[in-house]
Each structure stands twice: as structure tokens, then as C-alpha cells.
């Protein structure tokens, strides 16, 4: 391609800018800045000679127009063919202001923290209302949805849960066996790990997995539905989006969480047992220790927490999706908000439970 060429000359009457070659977007780079500077500095009259210009596209015409407008005074055109002249006339019409294009300031609308808080509380309230009003709106529930969601959130997560639980059990056993051995108390590692798994780590790890796998998926799915105006379509059809979309998801999360927690518990105990056997303890001794240290109450306590965590994560995932803004970025933000919100709320709730159970002596 022929590059654009520029020549600036002084004549008696004023400055002459000669542009030649190809005046197109891809060829203009070498001459743009120099040409604009020359036009600005030119005092007296300015003549622009484009006799040698072979092809002028809209970018070229934009440059010619800018030269004309940046020069304070009259501009004489030399060799301006009909084609670029017509194009420039069109640009002059599109950008009538002689001072160039005004760029209005970019205004960014930000939602205040208070407003965000109100949105979240409102959503929580709406979900409670939808749950209370469920018997009257059973027709909006689709059973297939619930089972599909349960399979995705639960059964498909089991391999991951098993692997995580086994590894966490192993790590805990190894880490605690080292200091305990100094006191000759390494047999109690079995009690320590199983108790902390049943009461704390089982539900907590299951919640982290659920928030990462399922909470984000809820947010992305519902966020995309909002962006595609599917939720608006449901609302205008008179279908309660809360009932149809949120309740099955929350129910699925609540149902799968105890299963995931049990998965972590069992695989964690196996991981711990594996390490204990390596350390030389027979399986009977390990089982005996677990029986002594834990009871059904510990397991049930953990499962109860798991159900609550599931409800919170499901709710937060749906909230993040349904309150998503417009555009693809909103879907990403919704998914992030679902994961972060889910994990933070889980830990807050876990702290709250710790205090409550301590006071209750559980």
C-alpha cells in the first residue's frame, strides 16, 4: 500500500500543506500529528493541496476536516476531487460544530452500600414470602428442575467431595500426629480429626465446594436469564420468578448439603485412618477411638449446620443472579458475588453457631 505523504511549505500568502498518497485509516499514521500541528501553527491563510491524494476514506476526510477546523482562518483547497469533497460535506453535516466533537463526560452510576443492603434484605424477604405462599403457587414449581439441580449440585460433586475429604483427613492426621506424638498421645489423633470433621470441617468444606461449584452456577444461569430478559418475560406472564427459579434452587442446595457433608466426613475419616495405619495403629483401635470421642449428636449437629449453609448459599447465588445488571460483565460479577458472599456468610453463620452451641452446652 502507498503510504500517505506530507509536505509543509511557506508561501508569501501563508502555509501550504500538501498531502499525497493514500489517505486511509491504515496509511495515515505517519502524517497525522505533523499535519495537524502544521495546520494549527499556520498563520495567515492556509492552503491544503490534495492533488496527489489517490484514495481518501472517511479517516482521510476526517483528517482534512480537522486541518480545516484547527486552522484559525480561511482555508483554500487545491485539487480536491469530487469524491473526497462529497465525503467531507457529509462529515461537516454529521459534526456541525466547528470546534470539533464535544465528548460529554462519562458518568458512572454506582449503587450505594445502603442501597445494596436494602436490595439484599428485600430479596431475602421476598424469598421468605414466596416460601410461605408456596402452597398457593405450587403450579409454578417444576419438579424436573429440582431433580436436575440436585443431580448437578450433589451427585456430580461427589467425586470432588470424596477427593477433598480424603486429602483433608490425611493432612489433618499428619499435622496433628507430629505434636501429639511428643506426648505419646498420637492415638487421640483419630478422635481429634473425626470430631472436628463431623462438627466443623465436614459442613464447612461442603459449603465451600457448594459455593464454588453451585452458587456461582446459579448466579451465572439466572444472571444470563436476566440479561436475556427471560426473567422479565416470566414476570410479565404473571409467573412468580421467586417461586419458579429461587425455591427449587434453594431446596436443591439444602437437600444436597447434608449428603456432601457426610461425603466429606466419611472420606475424611478414611484419609485419617490411612495415615494412622501408616503410623502403625490397627483399624480396631482407630474405630474404638472414633466411637469414644464422637456420638450421633455431633454428626447431627454438623448436618443441621450443612442444611443452613446450603440455604444461605442457594439464596445468595440466586440473589446475585437475579439482581445482575446488563451485559456479559454483569454475569461475571454476579458469579463472583455469589461465591464470595456464599463463603463469607457461611463462615459468619458458623461463628454464630459456635457461640450458640457453646451457650446451649451442645
Amino acid at each position: 500500500m502507498v503510504e500517505a505523504t506530507l509536505d509543509v511549505a511557506r508561501e508569501d500568502a501563508g502555509t501550504v500543506i500538501t498531502l499525497g498518497g493514500t489517505l486511509t485509516a491504515t496509511a495515515l499514521a505517519p502524517v497525522w500529528t505533523r499535519a495537524v500541528d502544521a495546520a494549527k501553527r499556520a498563520d495567515g491563510s492556509l492552503a491544503i493541496d490534495v492533488t496527489g491524494a489517490e484514495l481518501v476514506d472517511t479517516s482521510g476526510a476526517a483528517l482534512l476536516l480537522k486541518l480545516e477546523r484547527d486552522h484559525e482562518g480561511s482555508t483554500e483547497w487545491r485539487g480536491l476531487a469530487d469524491q473526497p469533497a462529497a465525503l467531507m460535506a457529509r462529515l461537516r453535516e454529521a459534526v456541525p460544530d466547528g470546534a470539533g466533537v464535544k465528548v460529554p463526560a462519562r458518568t458512572v452510576s454506582r449503587t450505594s452500600i445502603w442501597k445494596t443492603f436494602i436490595i439484599r434484605v428485600t430479596f431475602f424477604g421476598e424469598t421468605i414470602l414466596a416460601t410461605v405462599g408456596l402452597p398457593a403457587k405450587m403450579r409454578f414449581l417444576r419438579g424436573g428442575d429440582f431433580f436436575r439441580l440436585t443431580e448437578r449440585a450433589g451427585i456430580q460433586a461427589l467425586p470432588l467431595v470424596g477427593m477433598m475429604g480424603f486429602l483433608i483427613g490425611m493432612i489433618l492426621a499428619f499435622q496433628s500426629a507430629i505434636p501429639m506424638r511428643q506426648f505419646g498421645a498420637d492415638i487421640y489423633v483419630a478422635a481429634l480429626v473425626s470430631l472436628s470433621l463431623f462438627r466443623e470441617l465436614g459442613p464447612l468444606l461442603a459449603a465451600v465446594i457448594l459455593a464454588g461449584r453451585t452458587g456461582s452456577a446459579f448466579a451465572a444461569e439466572l444472571g444470563t436469564m436476566v440479561v436475556n430478559e427471560e426473567v422479565a418475560a416470566l414476570t410479565t406472564m404473571g409467573i412468580d420468578a421467586e417461586t419458579m427459579l429461587v425455591i427449587p434452587r434453594m431446596a436443591a442446595a439444602m437437600v444436597v448439603m447434608p449428603a456432601l457433608a457426610i461425603g466429606i466426613d466419611i472420606s475424611g475419616v478414611f484419609g485419617m485412618g490411612f495415615v494412622m495405619m501408616i503410623l502403625g495403629f490397627p483399624p480396631a483401635a482407630i474405630l474404638h477411638q472414633i466411637q469414644l470421642a464422637t456420638g450421633p449428636g455431633d454428626l447431627l449437629l454438623g448436618l443441621f449446620k450443612a442444611v443452613v449453609f446450603g440455604a444461605a448459599i442457594g439464596l445468595i447465588g440466586c440473589r446475585a443472579g437475579l439482581t445482575a445488571g446488563g451485559g456479559p460483565r454483569a454475569v461475571g460479577e454476579a458469579a463472583t458475588s455469589a461465591v464470595v458472599g456464599g463463603i463469607v456468610v457461611t463462615i459468619l453463620l458458623d461463628g454464630l453457631f459456635a457461640v450458640i452451641f457453646y451457650r446451649l452446652g451442645l
Binding site: 497525522w32 495537524v36 476536516l65 473526497p84 462529497a86 465528548v103
Partner: protein
């Protein structure tokens, strides 16, 4: 080769089928450089599929298509340098303002300084009537505005061939007519070739040098020629129905009264 220089797009017995389902077959036409060529047809006749073949997003299952002398299958990169595409939905990048959307091709393919890129992008947006909206995000504008911004982005590098998928759908008649005027002016000023998918009869008569009509039941093209010729002398009932629908709807109105 002198012949191929004057031919912007050459579609030679192109066909497309998905599985066993034939969308169209035996579509043959060529678009001359500087021509405004309109693709017409009812829903599901394969207009968008044909467009996707032309822009190299879909490999034709039969025949061959060349754009600017380059085969769309084997020389797709060269084809992409020849074309600017406006998608039906606009397909603007949601994380960028309109100005940044239009500046993107300029930033990627030219060495222009930033100020020059912004200046050019602003003018392109002003050309489509969006001079005041340059700093808005795609999520903050109407559907019609998004379409116009998409045209501005397709124009960013002044490609020799512009492909517009239903540009006037969703626009008010005045803006639509302005767009038609813009197409003709750009063609006059730059010698751009336009391939336009549209259903707007007014627009077709205003801009089209020639048009091709596809049909679902015929699984291919049923008419090729100037709009005037098709309106006056086509024997095909679908073509006649399409071009004379104003007259027909008037008849229906009379009957109902």
C-alpha cells in the same frame, strides 16, 4: 484476473446442510465492486447462513465462495481484511464504551496516535448519528442506537466490502432512511461494496442495485435481478407477493371494510 478485480464477491453453487437437513443449495451469484447487493427472503430461508458463509464463519458444504478474489475457506484471513460486518444484534463489546468499540479496530490495525483514533472514531459515530453518545456503554443505549454503533464499528477501517445483517430492523423510518442515505454516500465516496440483508421494501428500492431472493421451500434462490425487474416481471408467486405486499395489504383492508 481483470474480471475478478471487478467482482467483489463470487458465490458459486454454494449450499449448506446440517446433518441431512438442506438449508439451501445451488446458490450462484456475483456481486460487482461498488454494488449495493441485497439478500432477501422469508424467515428460515438461510439468509443469515449465507452471510456466515460469506464472512468465513461457516464452511459451505457445497460449492465455493470468494470474497475479493480470496476463497472463504482457504484464505479466510485475507477475506477478513476485506470486510466489515454489522451483526444483527449489534454484537458490541459490553465492557467498552461506544467510542472504545469503534476505536478497537483502529487500535489493532493502524499505528495512528491515540488522539487521532479517538477523533476518527468520534466522526464515525457522528456519521451514524451517535455523536452525543460516544461515552455510553452498550447496556445504556437503545437497540436502534446499538445497531448504528455497530455500523460505525464496521466502518472503522473503511473496508472495501461492508456486510450488514438487517441494519434497519428496529429503527424508526427516519433513522432507517438516514442509514440508507449513508450507505449510498459511502458507496459514492469510497466505492464500497455493500451486501445487505433487509426486508424493508422502501430500503430495497432506495439502495439496492440488485438483489437475490432465497426461499425455504425451494431450498435455494428464486430470483436475482434489480428490484424493479423483480417487481414487474417475476413469475414466482413468492417474489410477486413480496414486492407487491403494499398493494395486497390494501386489498385486504378494502375487503375487511
Amino acid at each position: 484476473m481483470s474480471e475478478s478485480a471487478a467482482v467483489a464477491i463470487d458465490v458459486d453453487h454454494a449450499g449448506q446442510s446440517f446433518g441431512g437437513r438442506v438449508i439451501f443449495k445451488d446458490v450462484t451469484f456475483s456481486v460487482a465492486a461498488g454494488e449495493v447487493f441485497v439478500i432477501l427472503g422469508g424467515s428460515g430461508c438461510g439468509k443469515s447462513t449465507l452471510l456466515k458463509q460469506i464472512i468465513g464463519l461457516l464452511r459451505p458444504t457445497e460449492g465455493r465462495i470468494a470474497v475479493g478474489g480470496h476463497d472463504v475457506v482457504t484464505e479466510v484471513r485475507a477475506v477478513r481484511r476485506e470486510i466489515g460486518v454489522m451483526f444483527q444484534s449489534g454484537a458490541l463489546f459490553g465492557s467498552m464504551t461506544l467510542l472504545e468499540n469503534v476505536m478497537l479496530p483502529l487500535r489493532m490495525f493502524t499505528d495512528l496516535p491515540a488522539r487521532a483514533r479517538a477523533e476518527i472514531a468520534r466522526i464515525k459515530l457522528a456519521l451514524v448519528g451517535l455523536g452525543e453518545a460516544v461515552n455510553l456503554l452498550p447496556s445504556e443505549i437503545s437497540g436502534g442506537m446499538a445497531k448504528r454503533a455497530a455500523i460505525a464499528r464496521a466502518l472503522a477501517l473503511d473496508p472495501p466490502i461492508l456486510i450488514l445483517d438487517e441494519p434497519s430492523a428496529g429503527l424508526d423510518p427516519i433513522t432507517g432512511a438516514g442509514l440508507d442515505r449513508l450507505i449510498l454516500e459511502l458507496r459514492a465516496a469510497l466505492g464500497c461494496t455493500f451486501v445487505v440483508v433487509t426486508h424493508e421494501l422502501m430500503s430495497i428500492f432506495a439502495i439496492a442495485d440488485r438483489c437475490v431472493m432465497l426461499d425455504r421451500t425451494a431450498q435455494g434462490m428464486i430470483a436475482l435481478g434489480t428490484p424493479r425487474d423483480l417487481q414487474q416481471s417475476s413469475d414466482h408467486p413468492t417474489v410477486r407477493a413480496f414486492f407487491n405486499r403494499d398493494a395486497e395489504s390494501m386489498d385486504v383492508q378494502k375487503e375487511l371494510r
